[in-house]
């Protein structure tokens, strides 16, 4: 099971400059992988191509063994006519009740299940949105800054739990947090600065799991490696 | 050349033949007048326009005039166009003919609520001692479907316009019709007349005379059978909607109402009929007090 891209090129319909130029990479699944790079470099665009939301690219995206791809992002909203807990129940497939309760407790959402989405803080909105995606059936879940407004500590707990709970799934985590990406992810697809000539490369992260003992030195090395690839 | 406006009561059609003809043949121009003949409707009535100064002359039915007098308008009647009121009822000949008012009993009669046919019919009922229980009243609107579908037997029409059209339509389907004319039963409800405001009548008597004379000359000429082809051609220019044959039939019908006898001069004001009209309206409580309409009739 691999996610492979070959010679991907993409230009937005009403734009002239391509956002993605001749991108090729390959990632093994399952695993918690990341996409990293400066703002505006094309991470979201790539994610949408992989999720099949933007047609009209050239090149190949091969997803062997990956049938269901979900794309989630941090600005999504839940409908407002009832509490978020209610919406969560509605989209929980049969048999995943326990998983739901587990996630609610990990994501620290117990107290806000009664609230309407619009009354939540930004981090709460991020979390409730991500939970409903995790409850769906998927092979690959793209999380485009899905936890951007959550505090670092909780974010780490969440990511480690996701890795623990979904060992057989693939994740593509888009984040601007270098430490997180270096420490918690397996393969990191790093986008070089468009102005530079670095292109894209895949760098191995530390892929820590629950209860890890941080090894400062190797982590720093990975971080440096990633920064150099930009 | 004086320019002035003349507001009709209804759309251009054959029943205003004289008005069209007077203008078309240049009778007004000969009298030194330039007359804009304009169509009317219930929403655009001549009496309002006279007061507002939008028009100088107009056509209104007697009930309108009397009502306006009752409300303090100053109206002068210059000529009575219809000697016989065109306000009649049509019914099919497969029904017994209405020979006496008694024959109305048991019929399903169409009435335009608020219209002057209601006033006329009520007067007829009163005359014959018919109560609302003896007949079935049907509220009429502008479309004729209930009559066509025989839901109503006796339907109010203007004899010389709609009357002709309906007669023609039914005849095409092999059905014959009768007309029920209230005048035959002693109810003379005056219809269209030429009017002007008291102010105009007083201040510009010359122009009033010239206008009336030219208009009536137009009517005389239009009602002259020998001019028929020419008149029809002039009407056709204004009223493109109906066909030639219908217009010819309408012209014949109009003649019967405008000039029922060769001896009657067109425009003659039938003072008794006006008085009767006022009496009827007073009885029907359409006006509050006598208005002495006869004092406003200036032939």
């Amino acid at each position: 099971m691999r996610l492979e891209c070959y010679n991907l090129n993409y230009t937005y319909p009403d734009s002239e400059v391509p956002v993605i130029r001749d991108l090729s990479f390959s990632m093994e699944t399952p695993g918690f992988n990341a996409v990293f790079g400066p703002s505006g470099v094309g991470k979201t665009s790539l994610a949408k191509l992989i999720a099949g939301m933007e047609p009209g690219f050239s090149g190949k995206i091969i997803t062997t063994g990956i049938d269901t791809i979900l794309y989630s992002y941090n600005l999504e909203r839940l409908p407002g006519w009832s509490g978020t807990g209610n919406h969560l129940d509605k989209v929980t497939p049969d048999g995943k009740q326990q998983l739901k309760d587990r996630l609610i407790s990990i994501f620290e959402l117990k107290n806000i299940l009664e609230s309407r989405f619009s009354k939540l803080s930004m981090g709460q909105q991020n979390r409730i949105n991500l939970v409903r995606y995790l409850l769906q059936d998927f092979d690959l879940l793209i999380m485009d800054e899905s936890l951007a407004n959550v505090d670092e500590k909780l974010r780490e707990t969440i990511i480690l739990s996701i890795k623990d709970l979904f060992p057989a799934k693939m994740f593509l985590y888009i984040s601007h947090n270098l430490m997180e990406v270096s420490g918690l992810c397996r393969d990191v697809l790093v986008f070089g600065k468009p102005s530079g000539n670095k292109g894209c490369s895949i760098i191995g992260g530390r892929d820590y799991t629950k209860g890890y003992q941080p090894d400062k030195e190797t982590l720093d090395r990975t971080m440096l490696e990633i920064m150099n690839a930009i | 050349e004086t320019e002035l406006n003349y507001r009709l009561k209804w759309l251009f059609n054959t029943s205003v033949a004289g008005d069209i003809y007077a203008e078309a043949k240049g009778y007004f121009r000969e009298a030194g007048l330039k007359v804009n003949v304009r169509e009317g409707s219930p929403e655009k009535n001549a009496i309002n326009e006279l007061e507002l100064g939008h028009s100088d002359f107009g056509v209104a039915s007697a009930d309108q005039v009397i009502r306006a007098l009752d409300k303090g308008a100053k109206i002068i009647v210059l000529a009575q166009l219809f000697q016989v009121s065109p306000m009649q009822w049509i019914y099919r000949t497969d029904q017994p003919q209405i020979k006496t008012l008694e024959d109305l009993k048991g019929r399903n009669i169409g009435i335009t609520f608020g219209g002057n046919d209601e006033t006329v019919m009520n007067t007829l009922f009163a005359k014959a001692g018919i109560t609302k229980k003896d007949v079935k009243i049907f509220g009429v609107r502008f479309d004729f479907t209930p009559f066509f579908k025989r839901e109503v037997d006796v339907w109010p029409v203007y004899f010389n316009s709609q009357g002709v059209i309906l007669k023609d339509k039914l005849e095409k389907e092999g059905e014959k019709v009768y007309f029920f004319n209230p005048a035959d039963f002693g109810v003379n409800f005056v219809a269209n007349s030429v009017i002007t405001s008291e102010k105009t009548w007083k201040n510009r008597p010359d122009m009033v005379k010239k206008f009336t004379a030219a208009l009536l000359k137009g009517w005389e000429a239009a009602m002259e059978p020998s001019n028929e082809a020419d008149v029809l051609m002039e009407i056709k220019k204004k009223d493109k909607e109906s066909n030639d044959e219908l217009r010819r039939l309408q012209l014949i019908a109009t003649r019967e109402l405008i000039k029922p006898l060769a001896s009657i001069k067109i425009g003659t004001i039938d003072t008794d009929a006006w008085k009767q009209t006022e009496t009827i309206m007073l009885d029907e409580k359409q006006i509050k007090k006598p208005v002495h309409v006869e004092t406003m009739l200036k032939n």
Binding site: A51, M53, L70, Y71, S72, Y73, L75, E76, R77, L78, P79, G80, W81, S82, V91, R116, F117, S118, K119, L120, M122, Q125, N129, R132, Y133, Q136 | P42, E43, N45, I47, N48, E51, L52, G53, Q64, R67, A68, K71, G72, A73, K74, T112, F113, G114, G115, G139, R141, F142, D143, T145, P146, K149, Q286
Partner: protein, 255 residues
Amino acid sequence: MLFRRIYQFLIVYFIGLIFLLLIKAVLSLSDYVIPGVGLITETFGQVLNTYFFDVMNTMSVTVLGQCISIAMAFGVGIAGRKSSWMGSFIKVTAYNIQAYPIVALAPIIFILLGDGFISRLLIASMICYFPLLLSVLGIMATPVEDIEHFYIITGRMRWQLEVKIRAFENLSKITTVISGSATLAMAGTIVAEFIAANAGIGYSIRVALYQSDLAKILVALFMIGIIISIYQGCLETLGEQIKTRWSVSKGGNTI
């Protein structure tokens, strides 16, 4: 709120009336063209009672007609929201029928349905529904991407849900249009009565019009105005309550 509506209406009405009376005075018109205060007051006393019941009669059709219009507007709006062939066909049908003035359609309606209550109701709803339809179409055709995305990508989107999401996000627009359309339902019913019925205030207006009795028309306008104000005030209050119930303020999510 309701009270405010009523006295605001009174202000509007009396400004209009004073304006007419001024014209009457300036042009020294007779009572026939523009009735004087005396005549209006007198007519008021005479017909207020009758007209009140006439308007209430009309109101009963109005309310029903409005309900039907709302149902029709949502039905057609939802069916026609897609830019597919069928959606466009439904829109063309709806639009074309609307372009026909009701006076032209009335004969056909009477042939088909007779001239009873049903025709009156149909005409009222036809006049009222179209403006609603336009709003509903506009709302239903605009995606709310940040909410709909989840349901689309997970294959959970059903048309009912789509409609619910879009309606909820535009709740205040919808309540504005619905409570505003009450006046259209009223006008529609009156027109229907004007051309078809033997009852209701529309019928009374027609009679007054035939008799060129502007005083009666002014009284009718007064009655219509005051009752529609009350009705609308109630609708607005109801709308507010629905909004609060269904939980309002999609805004607030971040600011």
